[in-house]
Subunit: 322 residues, 2 copies
Amino acid sequence: MTTIEECLMKGVVTGMTRSIGIDIGGTSIKTALTEEGSVLDFRTVETPVDDPRQGAAEIHRLISDWMSLADGSIGICAPGPLDTMEGRFLDPPNLPGWHGFSLKDELEDKTGRQCLVENDANAAAVGEFMYGAGRSFQHIVYVTISTGIGAGIVIDGKLLSGAQFQAGEAGNMIIRSEGPEQPGMNIGSWESLASGTALGIRAEKEIGLTGGAAEVFREQASGNQKAARLVSSWIEDTACGTANLLHLLNPEAVIFGGGVMNAAAQILPELQREVESRVYESMRSGVQLYAAELKNQAGVIGAAALDHVPRIGAGTSAGRSI
Amino acid sequence: MTTIEECLMKGVVTGMTRSIGIDIGGTSIKTALTEEGSVLDFRTVETPVDDPRQGAAEIHRLISDWMSLADGSIGICAPGPLDTMEGRFLDPPNLPGWHGFSLKDELEDKTGRQCLVENDANAAAVGEFMYGAGRSFQHIVYVTISTGIGAGIVIDGKLLSGAQFQAGEAGNMIIRSEGPEQPGMNIGSWESLASGTALGIRAEKEIGLTGGAAEVFREQASGNQKAARLVSSWIEDTACGTANLLHLLNPEAVIFGGGVMNAAAQILPELQREVESRVYESMRSGVQLYAAELKNQAGVIGAAALDHVPRIGAGTSAGRSI
């Protein structure tokens, strides 16, 4: 790991801009000092799931000696739904103790810096767009498949935010309206069919594998035919959701990240074929699927880059616009 | 109908900008001289389906005496898929004789004016955004439900075009991956479930009504219980597709036009409830559904306004960008 001293020296040498990014998850808070998408220093702490004020204090403690090294705003990402304008948690299912907490206000008070808050999929999209697999495009969709499914949409170099800051909630898209059910989601939602959780449930029920999505891919790779059939079925569901994104947004590229996809990048060629078979002929050449490059640092790197990527379509007509 | 003389006089009085819009359909070509979204003069001719050069000549004949009255570009809309940058037809299913025809080149040669070409759903979206139900918003999705289903997306006051100019192809979104089938479309596509054609087919098969979607709505309105149940089922499918649009794009408003929706605007309150039940709680207040206002003139009015609304996300990374 680079020391702060090395980083300071490098900064003096390169004259590059350093930023602070924070990624709040259900189990850990990651913080990073970055420079043009590279992580110079990285610190993490367990998320105090019941005490957001303690969380803010921990964050402040972790980043305080970076403050003199970093310019601009502090970027923060967290699980949605969030009011990204006000930097306030709404009702994220995996952080119940943080509901209603105004993280932006709390951290701005502590640090004296502007804080930008974005949901984690959007921040990862910004990271991949600026420094990862999307860096040569202007119009991408980033899809994260892990426990759930989410997306972040960059159009014309800007992050699509949405009237209630909820653009990119791709996991709740309905792709099979007759089932299956998942609490809190639409019946037949993409997430209920193709998330890591959904794949793990199917694996246990249909072929007796209890080790979750990771085990399914390991078994497939080692020649287990039942696992291979299950993976093919999962790829078909993944292709349905992806085809929907393409038909609505027709981006230059779709970039797949998140725990499941990071472990399953070898399926991209088969996914490519399945998606191609589900789009209009005239769109087929535009099916450009890529594996994310920033892996589990996409969140912190993207958060640190939030002030470089303007939001569009943000806020409502009732006067909330950026 | 306003005469050209009246229009000239009105123009002199108001100093407003007049534009020419052209809407090419499978059966007729509509042309209009417009002023700030109002149609001053309107002319139509049967589409020469086998002879696009004759079509271009007919258009030139219809609009030639408007040329001195109108400023700026001539806007044209037509059924997709189109290469909107080059103004060339690709392979629209209902205009087979026009495949590959470069309408933009042909009309620019004839008129000496720049011609802008856009697909019909996108042009109607521009019309509604500028002068119809979307005029007080910056971020809308326009959905047309007629023979098929299509959409046009305006974000931050700009038309989302797409890497292959195919953003908004909402009809091919998969909402029930297990069926039904429709040639040329995805199995279980929104269009195969909820277009006017699909509703007409179900009406004939399930309740013996042979008069298409219009008859279904008439029968529902006059108390036919079977027709009412069918309409409810159609509303559910329509709600699934609409919920998908909302989750991905989170617009300020969704505006419904096209022949079926123009005849069925009374179903909007029920559609509103069905959509609300399919979006996250935190998005529910943002479910704003409206009936289109420009009806069957949305295409010509929108075409005439194309030069007022920039495209975003257009062209590919291979150098085609606007």
